[in-house]
């Protein structure tokens, strides 16, 4: 199975757009990891009162109204945003996939209870649930923030996975496996999970983009990443009033979000196709 994973990755990366997306993501990650070490001054305000300065050799992305170097801030904010998006999406996908498999495979009462809970959870705006949960902290620690985002993001995924499980479970090959003596674990992990992974990957792409934007909104509302710690979303919202006068303050973090979401989507789509042997 590990061998087939390597094959799948190689096949996904055989498409040029997927390669571009993978390289872009790798570059963004490197940028977010390395630049804050080399240029550590993301919280320094060397020239307070001078206002926002446009990009120059000293500050390639310019500075914000507090004279902080935006290059350093975009890089450091990348760490925060990418960590939040990646980990929260991973958490919500794992839970959503697990719950979806359980509901779809078990059926009956288990399915009814789980799906009615999901219905109820989806009926409440996610932002509202998040605000309620995050109100427990004065300053939300990052791990808690990630956990809360992950725990509120799996409802849609579980529905998608369940629907896909119901479709796959009706296929004769599942009956054949049962008749060969396959137990629940084997049926779920060898037959159902591989056949629903495509849906999970599409869900992953949507989820990462959603979390980046959600994190921005929550940070703006004061319950997410707290100043002076930057995140891409928080920076965009910070700069929104100065869009016409100092557009660079919003341009660079905005482009970073755009590029990330785009690259994740392209990569997820390539992976989804590569997981399906029929598309080879």
């Amino acid at each position: 199975m590990t061998g087939s994973l390597a094959v799948t990755l190689r096949r996904a990366l055989s498409q040029s757009d997927a390669r571009v997306a993978a390289v872009t993501l790798a570059a963004l990650l490197t940028f977010a990891v390395v630049v804050p070490i080399v240029v550590p001054g993301w919280r320094e305000m060397p020239n307070l009162g001078a206002g926002a300065e446009p990009p120059s050799w000293a500050h390639p992305f310019g500075t914000d109204t507090l004279s902080r170097d935006l290059f350093a801030r975009v890089a450091y904010g990348g760490r925060i945003s990418l960590a939040i998006a990646g980990l929260a999406a991973l958490l919500s996908l794992s839970i959503g996939t697990g719950i979806g498999l359980m509901a779809g495979y078990a059926g009956g009462v288990v399915d009814t209870l789980l799906m009615r809970f999901v219905d109820a959870a989806l009926a409440v705006p996610r932002l509202f649930i998040l605000l309620l949960m995050l109100a427990a902290w004065d300053r939300v620690p990052l791990p808690a923030f990630i956990a809360v985002l992950g725990l509120t993001g799996w409802f849609g995924t579980s529905r998608l996975v369940r629907a896909e499980v119901l479709r796959v479970r009706a296929e004769p090959f599942v009956a054949a496996a049962k008749n060969l003596g396959a137990g629940a674990a084997r049926t779920i992990f060898r037959h159902l999970l591989p056949n629903v992974l495509g849906v999970v990957l599409v869900s992953a792409a949507l989820s990462i983009g959603e979390v980046i934007l959600l994190e921005a909104g929550l940070s703006f509302l004061g319950v997410g990443v707290q100043p002076p710690t930057p995140s891409w979303g928080a920076m965009v919202l910070d700069g929104r009033d100065a869009l016409t006068t100092t557009p660079w303050t919003i341009l660079f973090p905005g482009v970073a979000i755009l590029v990330t979401v785009l690259a994740v989507n392209v990569l997820a789509d390539a992976l989804r196709a590569a997981f399906d042997p029929r598309s080879a």
Partner: protein
């Protein structure tokens, strides 16, 4: 000698609806079916769509739980078996499905599909699995090198061969063949039928062949059971049923088979109407509404005919003589 498989008064109802606001309906798919199959024998179960023949096949394997009735396999009560006993028993009862596309996991190489039963029942040491899979593929007429390929790379006929290899992998005594050739081209059908006959001869397999094509059934079956509306209406040896059909429904089925000689005389019996609704059980003969038998009378509408032994066959018709 006790038969390999003994099915007695098998009943399968599908509960439908039964929600808070809807009345519960039971679809009577199988209504008291009894038959037995000996080692190495083929019983064909024929009938139109909806007659319950596939449900019988799946219930016999307990892929569906029967509503009532008894199932004995090689002297063991299949319905009383515990989960573990059932798992062991299932090795000996296998199935080949109609749909060559849905019956193989698209995410598994065909080698992995064929190996699955071997792994579950630990039939050979791990190191020899690949070798065994190769033998099985060869046995069904495929190149062992194809084990690394995925199902979508094969034709319908090849996939059916793979499905057969998967069933053979656990060395069964009995295989339910659920319309295994009806989705295939005629030329490919013949190849698969010949393969099934060869395997039966070499391995002493018993088959329950489910189908509606009497031309195919003629090649495979030793005995034939004709199903209508969840019941067997006629059961007997192949020649008896095909050459001297006594039940009017069997006669109609046989008249629908194309005759290979142009111009040869044949009277086609076209049945009027549809089978009755499976939600309501008629009190009389379920075939009465479509019956063309000249002796049809009031008894047919009021009394359900039971299977009766007539020379060479059992027939459920008041006027079979």
């Amino acid at each position: 000698m006790t038969p390999l498989l003994e099915v007695t008064e098998l009943v399968k109802h599908f509960e439908n609806g039964g929600g808070l606001l809807r009345a519960q309906h039971a679809i009577h798919a199988v209504n008291g079916v009894s038959f037995s199959i000996d080692r190495g024998e083929t019983l064909a179960l024929v009938g139109e769509s909806g007659s319950g023949k596939t449900t019988v096949g799946k219930t016999v394997l307990r892929l569906l739980e029967p509503t009532s009735g008894s199932l004995r396999f090689d002297g063991t009560d299949l319905l009383a078996a515990t989960r573990n006993e059932l798992r062991t028993l299932r090795r000996r009862l296998q199935i080949v499905f109609q749909d060559p596309y849905g019956s193989l996991d698209p995410r598994m190489t065909v080698g992995a599909s064929v190996a699955e039963g071997i792994e579950i029942h630990r039939l050979v040491p791990k190191a020899e699995i690949a070798n065994r899979v190769g033998q099985l593929l060869t046995e069904v007429g495929l190149d062992p090198a194809l084990a690394e390929k995925y199902p979508h790379e094969f034709s319908g006929g090849q996939r059916q061969r793979i499905g057969i290899a998967r069933a053979l992998a656990v060395d069964p005594d009995f295989i339910v063949l659920d319309e295994p050739v009806s989705a295939l081209d005629v030329s490919v059908q013949a190849q698969i039928i010949n393969l099934l006959l060869d395997l039966q001869r070499d391995r002493g397999l018993a088959y329950l062949f489910i189908g509606h094509d009497l031309g195919v059934v003629r090649h495979l079956a030793g005995r034939i059971a004709v199903m209508y509306f969840g019941r067997i209406v006629e059961i007997g040896s192949r020649d008896e049923v095909l050459e001297r059909p006594r039940h009017p429904y069997t006669q109609a089925l046989i008249s629908a088979v194309p005759v290979p000689e142009p111009g040869s005389a044949r009277t086609r019996i076209v049945l009027p109407g549809d089978p009755p609704s499976p939600l309501v059980q008629p009190s009389g003969c379920p075939f009465a509404s479509r019956c063309f038998h000249p002796a049809k009378n009031a008894t047919c509408a009021s009394q359900r005919p039971l299977l009766r032994q007539l020379r060479g066959a059992e027939v459920a018709c008041h006027h079979a003589e």
